[in-house]
């Protein structure tokens, strides 16, 4: 029992705390179109509600074992206290890992497309490169000033360079995951990076380094450096154009972010809205566009 609790807490960092937000000053009753985006990821789910393209409410919750109920719950939590009934939603788009299992969504759209569009809203039209480092994947996206994807890649095959890889290392060294970043930066100078990319092999390498009396912090630093290096290599496939933003769970790990920035010689943008909702936000923006398209289509075919 205690062990289960301990693991749950250890993983907490990648699962995020649950939260919700709404703009009380906005009167949804006067909105012409209400669009919703729901992002069901492997660890967390977000719902974003927009009125005429303005951010109205959102929630971010843990994903349960079922995509459909997770999506439902996210929407309920976002709408609670707003007085808006679910029937008022004009168009709902689902995204994320669980997107195809949400029957009440009118359309499912890939995370990549939604992420770019969401980032465009959060960071503004100057953002051209988005690096999203999640718990189980890593995405590199280039987009234009309107948030349309121009070049992307998604790496979800290999645990190296994902939150899962970081977690394995933190577990091995028994350092709480949220301390990894600061601990890895607490060194007088950068250690050489671990030579194995593979998390499994890096683990054996780390054990060898500990036996050579390296401190845990030094091993961590060495691992973070290798991870940053690998991520920059991956980014170079799509190319980095300013402005540059980092989203996803790992964007909170300063040990990785700092090293990526140093390698690129570019500073990542600071978000004004929690970038965790970028996917759901993008989905809501697509929902708006698709709703308008539907309306104009009806107008043409009707009357």
């Amino acid at each position: 029992m205690t062990e289960a609790v301990a693991t749950a807490q250890k993983r907490e960092y990648w699962r995020w705390r649950e939260y919700d937000w709404r703009d009380e000053s906005l009167d949804w009753k006067r909105a012409g179109g209400i669009s919703v985006g729901i992002d069901v990821g492997s660890v967390s789910s977000q719902a974003v509600v927009m009125c005429d393209g303005k951010l109205f409410a959102y929630s971010s919750l843990r994903t349960g074992s079922n995509s459909k109920t997770s999506a439902q719950r996210a929407l309920e939590v976002a709408l609670q206290e707003t007085g808006m009934p679910r029937e008022k939603v004009n168009y709902l788009v689902a995204t994320g890992y669980g997107r195809v299992n949400i029957p009440f969504a009118q359309k499912a759209i890939t995370e990549i497309a939604c992420h770019a569009r969401g980032a465009n809203f959060i960071y503004g039209p100057t953002v051209k490169t988005v690096l999203d480092m999640g718990g189980q994947d890593c995405k590199a996206i280039r987009c234009d000033g309107r948030g349309k994807v121009t070049n992307f890649l998604m790496n979800d095959k290999c645990a190296a360079g994902t939150g899962r890889g970081m977690e394995v290392m933190a577990e091995l060294l028994q350092i709480p995951i949220e301390d990894v970043g600061p601990a890895s930066l607490s060194l007088p100078e950068e250690p050489p990076p671990v030579s194995s990319t593979c998390v499994v092999f890096a683990k054996s390498e780390a054990l060898g380094l500990l036996r050579q009396n390296w401190s845990k912090e030094k091993v961590l630093g060495s691992f973070c450096l290798a991870m940053a290096h690998r991520t920059v290599e991956l980014l170079s496939r799509v190319g980095v154009e300013k402005d540059f933003a980092i989203t996803g769970g790992i964007s909170k790990n300063i040990g990785i972010v700092k090293r990526i920035e140093t390698k690129l010689g570019v500073e990542a943008l600071k978000p004004s809205i929690d970038p965790q909702i970028a996917g759901a936000l993008g989905a809501a923006l697509f929902a708006k566009a698709l709703y308008e398209k539907e309306l104009s289509g009806n107008a043409k075919t009707g009357s």
Binding site: R164, T197, C198, F201
Partner: protein, 259 residues
């Protein structure tokens, strides 16, 4: 003439001593922190078994990832050359050898005299080598030696989606939670691994007959899965993990003769 082959593998050091082409002794030790010490120890134990003094060894050839660190060897040879040499000596009709060790998978096409014609390697990713099966066995809480027999008992083949040893671990955990039988899970692990190894082997252009060597050659579940993917029977030596050391010892004898 007496020669020795030393295979400094990622997981274990193997030593094999030959007299006029016949095996006198062999020994192995886990690759420890101090590789020199481990190698010396394994060599001493093989010499003792063979009843041979160190000075009687005419040539020592080292192979394996750790071969560079074996400073007292007279010469070294690549893993591919050692594998090819050993395979053709064990199975004269073999023309392709697949070697799956702890950290690397290799496929080598050989000439009738045991020279290397062509090869392909899976390296630096645990999903393409023996570590994959080992990690999954640990997650299933079964001994690696039991994996083969268990896998053969599986009634059906279930798919395995993860292509990474780390993600596959989580997949195995969720399969256990959903009540899937261990036999079926380990079978899925073997099939997934065989998929990757057979695709790699096809790159060299498989020529019959095909031999399987390396530690994973002890795993009946993997042998069956790989034979199934390739659609042919595989020749597997009694002690597949010693193929590299055998090849090195054979090459040592050739080199001793030549000098």
């Amino acid at each position: 003439m007496i020669t020795a082959g030393i295979d400094g593998g990622a997981r274990a050091i193997k030593v094999l001593i030959l007299r006029d082409g016949k095996q006198l002794a062999r020994s192995s030790a886990l690759t420890g922190f101090d590789q020199q010490a481990t190698v010396t120890q394994a060599l001493e134990s093989a010499l003792q078994q063979a009843g041979v003094a160190r000075e009687e060894l005419q040539h020592i050839t080292a192979t394996g990832i750790g071969r560079k660190a074996i400073s007292f060897a007279d010469s070294e040879v690549t893993e591919m050359s050692a594998d090819a040499k050993a395979t053709v000596s064990l199975f004269p009709q073999a023309r392709t050898v697949i070697d799956v060790g702890a950290e690397e998978g290799r496929a080598i096409r050989c000439e009738p005299d045991g020279r290397v014609k062509d090869f392909a390697v899976n390296e630096k990713c645990a999903a393409g080598a023996g570590t994959f099966v080992e990690t999954m066995a640990r997650t299933l809480e079964i001994k690696l030696e039991e994996a083969g027999a268990l896998s053969l008992k599986a009634e059906k083949v279930i798919p395995m989606n993860a292509q990474c040893a780390v993600f596959a671990e989580s997949e195995v955990v969720s399969l256990i939670h959903s009540g899937t039988a261990k036999e079926e899970i380990i079978r899925a692990v073997h099939e997934a691994m065989a998929d990757r190894i057979s695709a790699m082997a096809r790159r060299v252009g498989i020529e019959r007959e095909v031999a399987l060597v390396g530690g994973v050659g002890r795993d009946a579940g993997f042998i069956k899965a790989l034979a199934g993917k390739l659609g042919m029977e595989l020749f597997v030596p009694m002690e597949p993990e010693f193929a590299g050391a055998l090849g090195a010892a054979l090459i040592a004898a050739e080199r001793a003769r030549a000098s």
